[in-house]
């Protein structure tokens, strides 16, 4: 129990992952959903870093680094799209983007 095994980290990351997922599923404010996605990415990162630590191999950390970079890029683009949407629709409520359905 006191001895910290990889499982601990796995469980931690899994939990964070699921918190993010729940955020994505429940919140209606798109910005917050974006943040939930950031949480998910963080969960992944924790996993990778922990594993890298266990395996004593650096590629895990490299992977995590790339993920951070990608997260930045995605955030930028995502917020851009969101702004474009907001300009037309004057809202960021996810339940109101249902022009295209069925």
């Amino acid at each position: 129990m006191l001895e910290i095994t990889p499982q601990h980290y796995t469980i931690l990351s899994a939990s964070l992952f699921m918190i993010g997922v729940i955020g994505v599923l429940t919140r209606r404010n798109i910005i917050i959903i974006f943040m939930s996605i950031e949480l998910i990415l963080n969960a992944v990162n924790i996993n990778l870093v922990a594993l890298a630590y266990e395996l004593d191999d650096l590629s895990g950390q490299v992977f995590a680094m790339f993920i951070i970079a990608v997260a930045a890029a995605e955030a930028a683009v995502g917020l851009g799209i969101l702004l474009a949407f907001y300009r037309n629709k004057e809202t960021v409520n996810i339940d109101e983007m249902t022009i295209m359905r069925w």
């Binding site: 729940i22 950390q61 490299v62």
Partner: protein, 177 residues
């Protein structure tokens, strides 16, 4: 003992803040919670002796992305509360429940499995670093990044360019009437 304490406190904070992020009423609050969350994650990295990553985490994430979020939140001055209108067709309830179930499953599966007996199965190509590189995390990371993962690195630059251009295109008010 010590790392145990560190781990439990950090993970408690991380998870708690995560919950706070998705639970907070106003987006501003959740942004702030997000920042804190990131900071503690960075701290966790330090315990996993990934100092460089920790730094990046703080600078890029907490410093860059979150600020971006903050800008947007401010930019989007909402006339009405985005949460007020809710579409009835949405599966609000089951979602979280299912998520929790899946989490349990993940944990259960993870419990089967430990790195220890998996790792020795394959003899990893042990990286040997040239003389110039002293055994610091940052140096080694830099070395690996610029040798093994050069190509992805270059590609990532393209990716960031694309993101930049894209963000500009989308965010700027369109020229054409």
């Amino acid at each position: 003992m010590l790392d145990a304490v560190a781990f439990y406190t950090l993970s408690f904070l991380i998870l708690g803040l995560g919950v706070a992020v998705i639970a907070a009423r106003s987006p501003v609050h959740s942004v702030l919670f997000l920042v804190l969350n990131f900071l503690f994650v960075a701290a966790l990295y330090v315990t996993l002796n990934a100092e460089f990553l920790a730094v990046i985490q703080v600078m890029v994430y907490a410093g860059g992305i979150v600020v971006l979020y903050l800008f947007v939140v401010m930019l989007v001055n909402l006339k009405r509360d985005p949460e007020q209108y809710a579409d009835t067709r949405r599966v609000g309830r089951i979602g979280p429940v299912l998520a929790v179930v899946v989490l349990v499953e993940l944990v259960a599966m993870a419990a089967y499995w430990s790195i220890r007996d998996a790792a020795p199965a394959v003899s990893l190509a042990v990286r040997e670093f040239p003389e110039g590189v002293r055994g610091g995390n940052t140096e080694e990371l830099g070395w690996v990044l610029y040798t093994d993962y050069l190509i992805p690195f270059e590609l990532a630059s393209m990716l960031l360019l694309v993101a930049m251009i894209g963000a500009i295109i989308l965010a700027k008010r369109s020229l054409q009437p």
